[in-house]
Amino acid sequence: MRKSFVPVLVVAAAMFACAPVLIVGAPYEATMGLVQKIFYFHVPSAMVMFLSAFVCGIASAFYLFGRKAASDRLATAAGELTVVFGLIVLVTGPLWARKAWGVWWQWDARLTSALLLWMIFVAYLLVRKYGGPGSDKLAAAMALFGMANVPFVYVSVNIWRTIHPKTTVVPSLAPGMRGPFWFSVAAFLLLYAVMLASRVRLERQRAAVEELYLEAEEE
C-alpha cells in the first residue's frame, strides 16, 4: 500500500465530513430553494463518472494493444467505479429534476449521454462477468468503442432536441455557491482516487493469488 493512501483517505473523509457545513452555508438558489443543494453531489458525481469512463477507455486501449495485465486491472476498477458514480448521478438527477421542474426525466443531450454511458459500462461489467475466458479483451473493446461513441450520442441527441424546444435551464453559479461547489468536486475526486487505488490493489492481490495457485500446482 502506498504511503500516501492513508493520508489521502483521511483527507477525503474529512472533506466529506465538512461538506454538509459548507453546503448549508451556501446561498439558496433563487427558484429552486433547498432542493437545488443536491447539485453539490450530483454534478461532482457526474464529473467523476465521465472521468472514470475515460480512464477505463484509455486503460482498455492500452490493454488491447499493449497486453499489460496492469492496464486491465486499472480498466476493471475504473469500469466498476463508472457504474457506481453513474448510479449516483442517475438517482440524484431525477430526484432534483422532479422537485425543480416537475418531471423525472428529460431526453436532452446531457442526460441521454450520461444514461447511455452508464449502460455501456454496465454492459462492460456484464461481459467481464459472463463472457467466459477471453472476456477481458471483449470488455476492453466495449470500453473503447463506448468511449468513442459518447460524442456521437451527445451530438445526435443535441441535434434531435434542437428541433424541439428545450425546457430545462441549467442554472449558472452564483458567487456564494462556487466555494462549496469546488470543495465538493475536490472531495469527490479524492474519494474517486482512493476508491480506484483500493480496487486496483484488490485486483493486484487477486492476480498474485492466482500466481501462487499456479506455482503450487507445479509440485
Binding site: P133, L138, F145, V157, I163
Partner: protein, 226 residues
C-alpha cells in the same frame, strides 16, 4: 491489391454459402416482418396502427434483424471452426473483417429490399418520395450498424453467453445510428420531405461509419488473437 482481393474472396465465399442454403436470408427476412407486425399491433391509436411510427419501426426491425443475421452467420463459422482457418492464413486480418462486413451488408440489403416497401405499405409511409436520400440513409445507417456488429460478433465467437451478449454490447453502441436513421427517415416522410435535415443526418452517419470502421480495423487483430 492483396487486401481487397482477400476481402472480396471472403465476401464471395460467404455469399456463395448463403445463396446455397438461403437459411439466414429467409429466417431473418421473416423475422423482420414478424417484428414489424408486432409493433404494428403494439403501437396502436384508436384501433389503428400509429402511422407516424413508421420510421421508428423500420429501424428497429433493421436493428433486430441485423443482430439475428450477425449471430447466425458467425454461428456457422463457429460450427466448423472455420474462423480459425481464416486466422491461420497469411492474409491480412483486417481484410478478413472487411470481407465479412461486406457479406453481412449484402445480406441486410436483401432483407431491406423486402422490409422497406412492406413498412411503407402497412403504414402508408412514402419511403420512396426521395429515393436517393432514402437509400443513402439506409446504406450509411446499416453500414454503421454492421461495422460494429461484425466486429462484436466475430470477437464473441469463442465467448460464453454469446447469444445474449451480442445485443447487450451492440445496442448501446449503435444508438446514434438509430437516432440518426429514425430522424432522417422521419424528415423524409413528412408531407414536404425535409431534404436538408435528411442530408445532415446522412452526413453524421457517414462520419460515424468512418470512425467505427477505422476503429474496428484497428482492433480486429488484437481481439481475434488469443
Amino acid at each position: 491489391m492483396m487486401f481487397l482481393r482477400v476481402a472480396w474472396l471472403v465476401m464471395r465465399k460467404d455469399l456463395t454459402v448463403e445463396v446455397r442454403s438461403r437459411e439466414v436470408l429467409y429466417t431473418t427476412a421473416f423475422f423482420a416482418v414478424s417484428c414489424v407486425l408486432v409493433f404494428a399491433f403494439a403501437l396502436v391509436r384508436e384501433g389503428r396502427p400509429l402511422e407516424d411510427a413508421a420510421a421508428g419501426i423500420l429501424w428497429i426491425a433493421i436493428a433486430f434483424a441485423g443482430t439475428l443475421a450477425l449471430g447466425r452467420t458467425f454461428e456457422r463459422e463457429r460450427h466448423a471452426e472455420t474462423l480459425r482457418a481464416l486466422m491461420l492464413a497469411p492474409a491480412s486480418r483486417p481484410a478478413i473483417y472487411v470481407g465479412k462486413l461486406l457479406g453481412i451488408l449484402a445480406l441486410l440489403a436483401a432483407v431491406e429490399v423486402v422490409l422497406v416497401p412492406l413498412v411503407g405499405l402497412l403504414f402508408h409511409a412514402a419511403f420512396l418520395s426521395r429515393p436517393v436520400l432514402m437509400i443513402a440513409l439506409l446504406v450509411t445507417g446499416t453500414g454503421g450498424f454492421a461495422a460494429v456488429g461484425t466486429l462484436f460478433a466475430a470477437m464473441l465467437v469463442r465467448a460464453r453467453s454469446r447469444d445474449v451478449l451480442l445485443p447487450v454490447l451492440l445496442y448501446p453502441i449503435t444508438i446514434p445510428v438509430i437516432i440518426a436513421g429514425v430522424r432522417g427517415t422521419a424528415a423524409l416522410l413528412q408531407p414536404v420531405p425535409d431534404a436538408e435535415v435528411a442530408r445532415m443526418w446522412i452526413a453524421l452517419l457517414a462520419f460515424f461509419d468512418i470512425v467505427f470502421v477505422t476503429l474496428s480495423l484497428w482492433t480486429f487483430e488484437p481481439l481475434m488473437t488469443e
